[in-house]
Amino acid sequence: MLASLPLAYLVLRTVGAGFGEVLDVVWRERTLTLLVRSLSLAAVVTAASLVLGVAWAWVVTRTALPLRRWWLVLGALPLAVPSYLAAYAWISLAPSLPPFAGSALVLTLVCYPYVLLPVAAALTRADPGAEDVARSLGRGPVVTFVSVTLRQVRPAAVAGGLLVALYVLSDFGAVALLRLDTFTRVIYTSYRAGFDPVPAAVLSLVLVLVTGVIAAAELRSRGRARQARLGSGVARRARAVDLGRLRAAASVAGMLTVAGLALAVPLGTVVWWLAGSSRGVDVGDVVSATAATVGLAIVAAALTTIVAAPVGYLAARHPSRVSGWLERLSYVGFALPGIVVALSLVYLGVRLVYPLYQTTTMLVLAYLVLFLPMAVGSIRAAVSATPPVLEEMARSLGRSPTRAFTSVTLPVITPGVLAGAALVAVTVMKELPATLVLRPIGTETLATELWSATAAGAFAAAAPYAAALVLVAIIPAGLLAVRTEVSQR
């Protein structure tokens, strides 16, 4: 299993280092501080994203607000903003932003769509009958929302929250720019500075353990409930809640504020940079970087989807110890900082498969390891929403198992599979550290050009790349939101 390669590398490195040295690193006071800081950042951002994402999802699925689909799309667009671009914009706007609060703010603003999209989909699917029953049993609307509606969307919210927590634990760009020492930043500096790779490897391993605990908790909370359900007849839609003018205005103001902070700040900054640089932009460079970015994103999304398909299918259809572990294993890469995955692949590439070193293949493999869980998650959700009886019907009508799968299950799950691919594509476009380390010589993507320009303080030069990056990333992000089904009545 490719996803576990970096893990194997870390274990090898740590074991090779000897017990004493490892203990030395682990028991440093600094390690504990790092752990507490990284975990609190992850907790704060996850909690804030859950509140923001669930509230936004409720407004766009259950209220009578006009243009709800477009509010959903607006809510999803911050997916297209890389965390380091958002961080840069905020620093230039408010240079004295405190590191922890600043990181929490920036990460929440780029992460809450990971909660919004699955929860909006789950709210649309949830059976409003249960809510009616709760009301008839004497629960008020607020208590009903907490005790029934939230329960119904809990799997979706928890899955989204897991993505947010893992994203925060492995994010590098935002914390690096805001100078907050978390695991990733310390691992990165010790890799870059050190001839001794052991401390970084040990710290990475601690980070992987933390991730493992979080992922296991998510798996447990998912429980044994199967979600497949066939409605007979016209699906009942929840009655739209009329917010009244005051609360509707408050919701709109809230959404506009968040969208302003998450979108207008970074985009405004880019436009301001652009305005300051009427000269010196090489259009050819921008075009070739855009082409490289889009090409890599498409190839990586396709490959990741192909690899994720059997894992997600097994996890949904044949839940067993093996499929459960397989799925958990695929989460490993996502929790690892991109830099760790990249360097472990460099290590393997140089020693074992030299011809692959610094090729596009190697880079795509790194993306695969990093973002497999996104694709696995969407495919699992899509498959478990497809009742097995459909395949049995196809069999009884004369189709072989393979043809039953291709003619019934596949078309039904395709939207979910494409959503996973779009999510991978948008994330690959924004990915920075692995791309920096593994890109073939001479290949520049929008992310690397943006990074090198901003690192050199050349804002004007960075602007066109930033603009191009957000523009191409908005396509898959918008697709994701448009695809999310929201009742229009």
């Binding site: 009742p387 009884s396 189709r399 072989s400 039904v412």
Partner: protein
């Protein structure tokens, strides 16, 4: 037109691994379905109806026993014909209409390319959905979806059609009309069919024959009228509808119970129980003859009514009468008469079971 023969089929679920309990669902099930007939497999929830159906369809493998279709072994020791090679159509409980295909495409799913369009039109006509072929499933009502599922199952001219509680999700008014349409559609194509249900009214009204499945075994199999009037056990009698079960003693031709002497047939002398249906009791204001009693309660259903009569200290019986019980207010002294024969069950041992049993 095909013959289905199920012989001594066993099926258990749950593995011995991990300490999970093994549940025996079918324990020696036999079933015969003659060509062109519609047999209802009737039983309470959890009796193994759906398991039996899935084994016949080939979705699951049996543990032992055999299933033959037209003399060909399709399930047996070491033999398992895949579902796609059995030519058995299935209409599942939820319909399971393919959500991504139009109504026409659903019906055409099991058809070869040649002559497909004509057959789809013919089937939609048959189930009363002509003109709705281009609709998508989410635009149909529950009853319409159920009929699409039926048309889809019948279109490839299967040897046998299996229906798994196909009317359970429909409301009462719709259920009766869909039920008769389904029976007509199956009759029109001359298919052999097995209907699985827990609804005795449905089984008795639709099927040519009824097989009663209790605890994984077929305990009785026969025509609806004979199964209803000659139940094989008191449990079957209660399951098929309201039954009056009274302690009785038999002299071979008559059973004497709290309702007096009731004609029975084919019984050995001794102690046992006699079973009667509420519609066999006639309740009149107290006069000459019959058994004396008092009206305890009445339930009025519109077309008919149930009158509960106390025959003394501990015995209550129910009578079903047409129309309204105007003349039978609570407390009215009445005489009870019995029409027709009772069904008599001899006790297995001399010491009997509790006194009067009644089921509402």
């Amino acid at each position: 037109m095909s013959t289905l023969r199920v012989r001594d089929v066993h099926k258990s679920f749950g593995s011995s691994r991990g300490g999970a309990a093994v549940v025996q669902v079918l324990r020696g099930t036999d079933l015969d379905v003659e060509p062109g007939s519609l047999v209802a497999v009737l039983g309470p929830s959890g009796c193994g109806k759906t398991t039996l159906l899935r084994l016949v369809a080939g979705f699951d493998r049996l543990d032992s026993g055999s299933i033959e279709l037209d003399g060909t072994l399709i399930s047996g020791p070491g033999v398992h014909v895949h579902p796609e090679r059995r030519r058995i159509g299935v209409v599942p409980q939820e319909g399971a209409v393919f959500p991504h295909l139009s109504v026409s495409a659903n019906v055409a799913f099991g058809l070869a390319r040649q002559g497909r369009r004509a057959r789809v039109e013919e089937m939609l006509d048959l189930v009363g959905l002509a003109g709705l072929g281009s609709r998508m499933p989410h635009e149909l009502s529950g009853g319409q979806l159920q009929r699409v599922a039926l048309a889809r199952a019948l279109a490839p001219r299967p040897a046998l059609v299996l229906l798994d509680e196909p009317f359970a999700a429909l409301d009462t008014a719709l259920r009766a009309s869909v039920r008769s349409q389904v029976r007509e559609a199956i009759g029109a194509v001359g298919a052999t069919a097995v209907l699985v249900t827990h609804d005795q009214e449905e089984a008795l009204s639709v099927a040519d024959e009824v097989a009663i499945l209790f605890g994984g075994r077929v305990v009785q199999h026969g025509q609806p009228m004979s199964v209803y009037s000659r139940p094989a056990t008191p449990e079957v009698a209660r399951f098929l509808g309201d039954a009056i079960v009274l302690e009785a003693s038999s002299d071979g031709t008559h059973a004497v119970s709290a309702l007096g002497s009731v004609r029975i047939s084919g019984a050995t002398p001794g102690r046992g129980h006699v079973v009667l249906r509420p519609e066999q009791l006639v309740v009149l204001p107290r006069g000459g003859g019959g058994v004396a009693g008092d009206v305890v309660s009445t339930e009025f259903f519109g077309h008919d009514a149930l009158v509960t009569v106390s025959l003394g200290a501990h015995t209550l019986v129910r009578s079903r009468m047409l129309g309204a019980p105007h003349h039978l207010a609570v407390g009215t002294p009445v005489s009870v008469f019995v029409k027709g024969e009772g069904t008599y069950f001899a006790d297995p041992s001399p010491d009997g079971v509790p006194a009067a049993m009644m089921r509402g």
